[in-house]
Amino acid sequence: MMSTIPSAAAPGAPAPFDSARHPSSRETPDLPAVRLIRAYLLEARCETLQALRTPAAAIPFLAIPAAIYLLFGVVLFTPGEDTAAMPGLENYIFSGFMVIAVAMPGLFGGCAVAFERDAGLLKLKRALPMPGGANLVAKAAMSMMFAAAASGSVVAIAVAADTITLSGAQVAVMWGVMIAGTVPFCAIGLLIGSLASASSAPAFANLVFLPMMWLSGLFIPLPEFLQPWVVVWPAFHLNQVALGAGGVGDYVYVSPQLALAVLAGITVLSGGLAIRRLSRVG
């Protein structure tokens, strides 16, 4: 490809204005649908490439959930003892770790928008005729890809170690719910990223993520006084949706529809506030 290009010194190799290609009239130039889709895809591709090229930032998302699942869900989990009192606990723990696997890339992927803000990039994109929200859609898509991979590794470990008692269809449904469930976390991340500076955004995201991981009752039993509080965490609701959809009835505490509504509300509220702020402040 490179060899076909004229040398760098060649002045004005192509004709900058080609009246056939460039309408000199004052018509508003439209972006054809194909090019519009291409713009969204390119944005997502660039987003993913950036993440892949900074593996130090990407690896924890992929490795941590799998590693802790391996530890708590497989190595330290002794079916006979643990499931006697609570049958099906292994499935609940499996689901909980998938939630963690999707919440991390969602939150941290979203809050990466703070870096773009600090770099002035969002201001530039506001000035450019970027199709509406392409960069945010790209962020969500990238987060979902990472979430799919991270939760997929939890699925792979569970299947390989044969720790769960769910059918293939149940696992597939739950996995699908989880991947879609990245979106609310991404919206929260975006909100954090739209408010905080680049240096503080990851700290704030951790401030949300770490308590949520422990206090949502995903994989450790909570003391009684903390139990009612699980409802404030989106992770709890995603887990409830997944368990409900997967038909793991023993652990459904809140109706999946209600949990889904809560997640939708969080997404609309956080995402809406973030978009509002980003489109004004940039």
Binding site: A8, L124, P228
Partner: protein, 742 residues
């Protein structure tokens, strides 16, 4: 402390007292049987209620008395009555008509929901007209009448001695305020009334007079004493300093006394709220502690607010304005929410915050959209805020970050506006002495259809800073317009307007005759901004392709690279490039659009000579192919090398526009330097000389008619040496222009 500062703090205190009422009422179903009894009972919320109830209304009436005196003093008796009628009586009556049925309805609904329809059959003990929570407005009116009546009576009775009497009262209030035991003394009347009242329920403090119009003695004495003390306090504003100084102590005592009360009476559900079996002296001690605690709280909170919230803040102001409505409207909503959540199997620590949050959200939304911009807001707060407000927040010039910008309102009616506008004021240079010079007027008002971009009489303010002041400026097809000016002159603001990132406060902005706010209208426009770092992990090629994807007819990657002479950088990661190379890639992303109009904000900052030459060559290529370019720069030689026209901005005003030559000849002044023994004062007096300065042996003369001046110079001083005459450079012209504009 100046008086206005105090008022911000006291406004905040009043709002605090009212908002605390919402919290107070929200706690009630969690520890006592109301219209519903919550399934999750809480001692903690009972204690919360108890403590808030000790001081909240006394605090409110203290502030109310203070502000009442202020109003009488500032506006006179008549205006006071009119103002109170509008702000207190009208809300009381209208509020009752609207909120009483809703409140009672919410209670009935809750009772039926909990206990079935039979709940209604239970005998209702009614002790009078239900004032609901609006009783406080009724008592305010009573106190206004009592205090103003007393005042008039004193004036009539004391006659000439009224002044002496006032001074005596002020002296007593001062002595009392300065005394450490003030709260105890002030509490005595109420404590006495309560102890003597056989039917008094100690747990509940001052019985809430929310039923019947007949004034209740404890309420009248308790709230009346607070009101009167607030009234007298305003007569001697410096006394507030005492609270400001002592607030930590006051609050400490308040907490301690509240704890003592709680210890005596027992927490809700444990002790006997009636204190039936206890000796009378215990009741008396309790009453003293309770009422003293009330004053300690009130003074402590006022002092803390004066110490911590004296600065005006838009948020505090908004909350203060909204609190009146919030309090008026909250009760039915809170009762309704309590009934809704009463049987939910959740812990109170979830339900209680939920009620408060949900109520505040609904109330704030109703305030923002229904009250603040309408006549209701005018009645309650004395003024109406238009819903759409111009952003008026201070922001830095180069990174505008409006905090409350309006949503875009377009399509703007740009084409329907009058075609001709007044040109902006002509530059002062034109009025300067000397021969008239060719120069186009700086104002380019009037819409030209062929202009690719236009600012028509645009004014842009950021808070108190005017970034652009009635600027009219147009970009003609195929030209390079250089925007020159010192930092903060408004160059970046102008570009931001053209790029649709800002909306002007006045005037109109167009791109190809259309609004730049619409994304589609920017698809002919390429952008290179200042202070942008592109994604460091992406390769230059990827960045160019990504930006190109936004445009309908971009150059191909290869074309862009060749055109901008950046082929060698294509596969490098952006983060690994040097500063100058990064600018080149940013330039390439701007060019790849195949733009009809290209905005370049300081494009050559940080470039080495070679890179700059390459960039200039590309710019010339683009110009020769018909692209219009707007370029801001600090480098005058850049404008000299490239620009067809130059526009000079200084402090937001367009001070001159013209070709580079025009600009240069605009300052027709020549510089004459020579060595001479002549007195500079003499030289200055010659015709055509603007200025003369001496630096050791050298004299530097600025003049319009250099030839005549040189002739005269040589005549006057034969020893003149090293004579040099030159035309001012653009740099000098530029300095002259901006200096004169400043």
């Amino acid at each position: 402390m100046s008086a206005p500062e105090r008022l911000h703090a006291l406004d905040a205190v009043r709002a605090f007292a009212l908002l605390l009422g919402i919290v107070l009422h929200a706690t009630m179903t969690f520890f006592m049987p109301l219209h519903v009894t919550d399934s999750s009972q809480s001692e903690a919320l009972g204690v919360t209620f108890f403590v808030i109830h000790i001081f909240r209304m006394s605090l409110f009436f203290l502030i109310a008395g203070f502000f009442a005196h202020m109003l009488v003093q500032r506006r006179g008796f008549k205006a006071f009555v009119g103002n109170r009628a509008k702000r207190i009586v009208v809300p009381m009556i209208a509020g009752w008509v609207v909120f009483a049925p809703l409140t009672i309805g919410a209670m009935i609904w809750g009772a039926v929901k909990m206990n079935g329809p039979g709940a209604l059959d239970a005998p209702q003990q009614s002790t009078g007209f239900p004032l609901i929570h609006l009783w406080f407005l009724y008592y305010l009116c009573l106190l206004y009448v009592i205090v103003l009546g007393l005042r008039a009576a004193v004036d009539a009775a004391a006659g000439a001695r009224a002044k002496t009497l006032r001074r005596a009262v002020d002296g007593a209030v001062r002595a009392l305020t300065l005394a450490p035991l003030a709260p105890l003394v002030l509490a005595a009347p109420l404590a006495l009334v309560l102890v003597l009242d056989e039917s008094w329920i100690p747990w509940g403090g001052i019985p809430t007079p929310d039923q019947g119009f007949m004034p209740r003695v404890p309420a009248l004495v308790g709230f009346g004493s607070a009101f009167v003390f607030g009234w007298l306090l305003h007569r001697q504003l410096d006394l507030l300093h005492e609270f400001r100084r002592r607030w930590p102590w006051l609050l400490t005592f308040a907490v301690a006394l509240s704890a003592a009360c709680l210890w005596i009476v027992g927490s809700p559900g444990q002790g006997d709220p009636l204190m039936a079996g206890v000796p009378a002296w215990v009741r008396a001690v309790y009453a003293a502690c309770y009422t003293t605690s009330s004053w300690c709280w009130a003074f402590g909170i006022v002092g803390a607010a004066l110490r911590l919230f004296s600065r005006p803040s838009p948020v505090a102001r908004y909350v203060a304005d909204s609190s009146y409505w919030l309090y008026l409207a909250h009760l039915p909503l809170v009762f309704f929410l309590q009934a809704v959540v009463a049987d939910w199997p959740l812990h109170w620590s979830v339900k209680f915050p939920l009620i408060v949050t949900a109520a505040l959200t609904v109330l704030l939304a109703s305030y923002h959209y229904v009250v603040r911009p309408t006549f209701i807001g005018e009645v309650l707060n004395g003024r109406r805020y238009p819903r759409r407000r111009r952003r008026d927040v201070p922001v830095s010039m180069d990174s505008p970050r409006p905090m409350h910008p309006e949503p875009p309102r377009w399509p703007r009616p740009t084409l329907s506006e009058p075609a001709h506008r007044e040109p902006s004021p002509s530059p002062r240079l034109v009025h300067s002495p000397g021969p008239p010079q060719p120069m186009s007027p700086p104002g380019e008002g009037g819409r030209h259809p062929e202009h690719v971009a236009e600012l028509a009489n645009v004014t842009m303010r950021f808070g108190t800073t005017t970034a652009l002041d009635a600027v009219s400026l147009a970009v003609r097809p195929g030209e390079l317009l250089a925007l020159l000016g010192p930092n903060g002159a408004g160059k970046t603001t102008a570009i931001s307007l053209w790029l649709g990132m800002l909306e002007p406060d006045e005037g109109s902005v167009t791109l190809m005759g259309r609004s730049p706010l619409e994304v589609a209208n920017r698809r002919n426009v390429g952008v290179m901004m200042q202070d942008v770092q592109l994604a460091p992990a992406l390769r230059a090629r990827e960045l160019i392709e990504l930006t190109a994807s936004y445009y309908p007819h971009p150059y191909s990657l290869e074309e862009t690279l060749a055109l901008t002479r950046t082929t060698a950088l294509a596969s490098k990661r952006y983060g690994s490039l040097s500063g100058g190379q990064k600018r080149q890639i940013q330039f390439a992303t701007a060019v790849c659009a195949r733009p009809q109009l290209l905005f370049l904000d300081e494009p050559t900052v940080g470039l080495d000579v070679e890179a700059r030459e390459m960039l200039w060559r590309t710019i010339r290529d683009l110009l020769s192919n018909g692209t219009s370019i707007v370029l801001t720069t600090h480098y005058l030689e850049e404008a000299e090398a490239l620009a067809d026209r130059v526009a000079v901005l200084a402090r937001g005003r367009l001070v001159a526009t013209g070709t580079v030559d025009e600009m240069r000849s605009l300052v027709a002044r020549r510089r004459i330097t020579c060595t001479s023994a002549l007195d500079v004062e003499v030289i200055r007096s010659w015709p055509g000389v603007i200025d003369a300065v001496r630096d050791a042996q050298t004299v530097e003369i600025t003049a319009f008619e250099a030839e005549n001046v040189v002739r005269r110079l040589l005549e006057a001083d034969a020893s003149v040496g090293r004579l040099e005459v030159r035309q001012a450079s653009l740099a000098e012209a530029f300095n002259e222009i901006t200096k004169e504009a400043a």
